[in-house]
Point group: C2
Chain length 321, copies 2
């Protein structure tokens, strides 16, 4: 039983009874092929499990490179960004582009030319962002920045839902473990809004600060608690922070969720402990980014889109005792 030959466009064409040119058009071109023909082609594609060869497609000149820039560089090493990267790769490939990682010069110039750019993780007041906006209208930001194309998860909404969840469980001393930057700020806003809507006074001392990673979160929570701060609910601005917070609380002899309920944000896979958290649809964000990129390259006026987000309740939250 020899290795199954991978089906090519010719196999599809033969099975569908059309020419390869037609198959190609059916697959790529938005128009110019009769609906019933396209239907037949699609059936053949499915029956054969045909998937176009990236190499051939690229050789034939159809794939353009889009540059993904990560800034600051270190963010590349966080799970969230890795997942986003993978999702972008997939989404771009699906639209006939290929992802190339391009470094950003200190002045904010892409170090390699590309048909378009996707910028990841820039600080909102980073001057390089402004520069990108002006010099490269064919770029989209994953984040928020007016005047350019951007996609972002519904951070305020998610934070609101997380906080609301804690409030509805009866918690009144709800702390927030936050981080700097646009994202951190928006998640904080959602937290604060929920407090307001539920008539719980906002107490600034209840907002702790760390970075988006575990260790700073651990330290912030532990220091605060040892300093006498008390709360029965905690909304952490990321899953990693939530993990750090839980470790700290446990080291202090507390039980999660018995003594303190903790909510995270992101819903990262493979965590050491199942978290109540706000789920981001990373693939959806990637798809939206690519869709916007196509708009951007066709000189449409810039706009931003929010991708929905969803609370998922697991076992780090419980009703207040």
């Amino acid at each position: 039983m020899g290795r199954k030959r991978i089906p090519t466009i010719h196999d599809v064409a033969r099975l569908a009874g059309v020419s390869t040119g037609t198959v190609s058009r059916a697959l790529n071109a938005r128009s110019g092929v009769h609906p019933v023909t396209r239907q037949r082609v699609m059936e053949a594609v499915n029956k054969l499990g045909y998937v176009p060869s990236v190499a051939a497609r690229e050789l034939a000149g159809r794939t353009e490179a889009v540059g993904v820039m990560v800034t600051p560089r270190v963010w590349k090493y966080s799970p969230y960004f890795i997942l986003l990267f993978e999702a972008l790769d997939e989404a771009l490939w699906h639209e006939g582009y290929k992802l190339v990682e391009v470094p950003m010069s200190p002045s904010g110039e892409p170090l390699q030319p590309a048909a378009g750019y996707i910028v990841l993780g820039a600080h909102d007041h980073d001057p390089r962002l402004e520069r990108m906006r002006q010099k490269h209208p064919n770029s989209v930001l994953v984040g928020v920045h007016s005047g350019m194309f951007w996609v972002a998860p519904d951070d305020p909404g998610g934070a609101y839902a997380a906080t609301q969840h804690l409030l509805e469980l009866g918690h009144r001393d709800v702390a927030h473990l936050g981080a700097a930057g646009q994202v951190g700020r928006e998640r904080f806003e959602g937290y604060r809004q929920a407090l307001t809507d539920y008539g719980v006074p906002y107490r600034p001392e209840l907002v702790l600060n760390g970075a988006f990673t575990t260790l700073p979160a651990y330290r912030a929570v532990r220091r605060a608690w040892e300093g006498g701060l008390r709360f029965s609910g905690l909304f952490a601005a990321s899953d990693e922070m939530a993990l750090g917070a839980i470790a700290a609380l446990e080291d202090l002899g507390l039980n999660v969720p018995h003594d303190v309920s903790v909510v995270g944000f992101d819903d990262l896979p493979d965590l050491e402990r199942p978290l109540t958290t706000v789920r981001q649809e990373i693939p959806a964000i990637a798809k939206a980014a690519v869709a916007l990129l196509k708009e951007a390259t066709s000189h449409a006026p810039p706009r931003g889109v929010r991708v929905g987000v969803q609370l998922v309740v697991r076992d780090t939250t419980a009703r207040r005792r």
Copy 2:
């Protein structure tokens, strides 16, 4: 000034005054082209800055896929593995292969066929490893496992050098912050050997355990110190652990390196603090893995290779007061 056209093999051929076939052979085939011709071709290649098109090469059937399997999956999210991945990608590409990430089934079967496999991070007693060894002789492990091809950094040597460095700075109470698994064990052995060679008695209570990440390291060090354990030098089994340890020591009111000297392992880039550490040459490991893979596919008897490692002294270590 139009976009510079990317030079193709034809340009090289013309400039060198030979045919494209010859250029191709000069570039790829080990033999079958006259030395002076090859020389001329190489000059043309350099002058033009020619780099072969991956797509074309792949289409023409020269590139085979090699599967990289990461196990357990979560390791994919650590900086070390990301760097290793990138290095492997580069090294494979250089040899005309392309990297595809292939998941490993629970039983230890690659979920996609490939011309060869590179296994990353498996526990040394993982039964799936044994299975790979038997059913897929065309695979190499990054790690140590007798009976199959493997590459690994010189962990014992590096650990020895790190510990030696501390000892030569006059430290006598040298602790070790270790981790489980083959790698952890080897680094521990290096530590212990250095102690012996320098006539410093080995004290089991001085070896702390954590995982390879910051938070467990922080907790282990803090708990130990609070429990009364004292040391003036610490060899951590990874840079991330070193960072965690330093944070813990500082939270305890100690100064690094003034009160305690800390050495890491890996030499990760972009760290928040420059560490005295043991540098791994990740690109060299990747190259070695690929070289071994070629051996493995030609049915050579399995062997392992160690890649050298180097102590780099920065400012987290100081002479004992």
